[in-house]
Symmetry: C2
Subunit: 183 residues, 2 copies
DNA sequence: TCGCGCATGTAAGTTGTTACATGATTTA
DNA sequence: TAAATCATGTAACAACTTACATGCGCGA
């Protein structure tokens, strides 16, 4: 259900196509919400039916036509009332940590390789978040409330990635001491 | 699919009932994997059919009978080969951050209340993780490999919660400056 | 000409949640 | 006597993933 409100919030900030939303989810909103394009198009369809969105068909030369979605008053009020409800925390589910728990079956070499890939992803993500911060949120005190709130959400991503990378250092140290073969 | 291997890993560490597994997921494994009892029982059933688990029925006086599950050789080898495959990262989906993105519709008072509840949960979680660390992992260098790996997984939880709480301080500061009413 | 970016979708399957269901014993 | 803990499940639904499907224009 939260996907619905993530879409409404994103479109309330700025009307967009399904394609645009997919881009945003994978970049600026990477730390907030993730959804595949299939999920996005399906939910956009439902929100249209519910009249929480309206759509404008835009013909383009040299590009496929596109459908730009915008939030209706009904959508705004649905979003507003969702915002007032307490939302349960998302559950934690990390397959890499599951691997660490399988102790005597796991191959430390595999773990090191996987850790390196994960680390590279985190480094990239953190770099990206910092670019956004330096570009749009240089002086957050002076920004209007809306952007200060977005900056706070971004800070969660930055602090989270920094902490993840500090853990990665501990992990590399810890794995470094161990034999490569399992058992 | 990863739930399956989380169960196999947990049962490989120590045979248990569905009920026990539910307890573990909500406590020691809280940082690694979450699953409801319905999911657990369903997956245990499938794993039995696949002969990756065997079950021993234990009659108890003064308590309901219980079914203790244990991993079979087939289960071990399925787990071992899963461990060798790269596992994709879990997606990020945080409804509270979605709220921060809805900037001009959100009521800061609501946000403060929700933040307080979330913070309390994080403080509790961190306290719990630290108790485990102080109880079982006082001198990790001397522990056998299996427990050092588990300690590293726990460290992820501890560093993650510390970082979450540092963010919470930033959030409280940021929200403190804002008016209570929306728009 | 091969792949990538733009742009939108359908269908089938898996995973996860919510609601319902039972029943004994211990603790407040 | 009411609630919590132990102990196990079924059924229905919602959310999410994976595979399939199309088609144009641009750059290497």
């Amino acid at each position: 259900m939260a996907l619905r409100y993530a879409l409404l919030a994103a479109l309330h900030e700025q009307p967009a196509t399904g394609y645009d939303l997919n881009q945003r989810f994978r970049t600026r909103l990477a730390n907030v919400w993730n959804a595949s394009h299939q999920q996005i198009y399906r939910e956009l369809g439902k929100l249209l039916e519910l009249e929480m969105l309206r759509v404008e068909e835009v013909s383009q030369d040299e590009r496929p036509d596109k459908r730009v979605y915008e939030v209706t008053d009904k959508g705004i009020s649905a979003l507003a009332s969702w915002l007032r409800e307490f939302q349960p925390r998302p559950p934690t589910r990390d397959p890499f940590l599951v691997k660490l728990f399988a102790g005597d079956l796991v191959d430390i070499g595999c773990l090191r390789e996987e850790a390196a890939i994960i680390k590279a992803g985190w480094v990239e993500q953190l770099g990206y978040f910092r670019v956004i911060e330096n570009t749009y949120f240089r002086d957050p005190q002076r920004l209007p409330r809306q952007y200060r709130l977005q900056h706070l959400a971004l800070r969660r991503g930055i602090l989270g990635m920094e902490s993840a990378l500090r853990w990665m250092d501990e992990l590399e140290d810890g794995l470094g001491d161990m034999d490569t073969d399992s058992a």
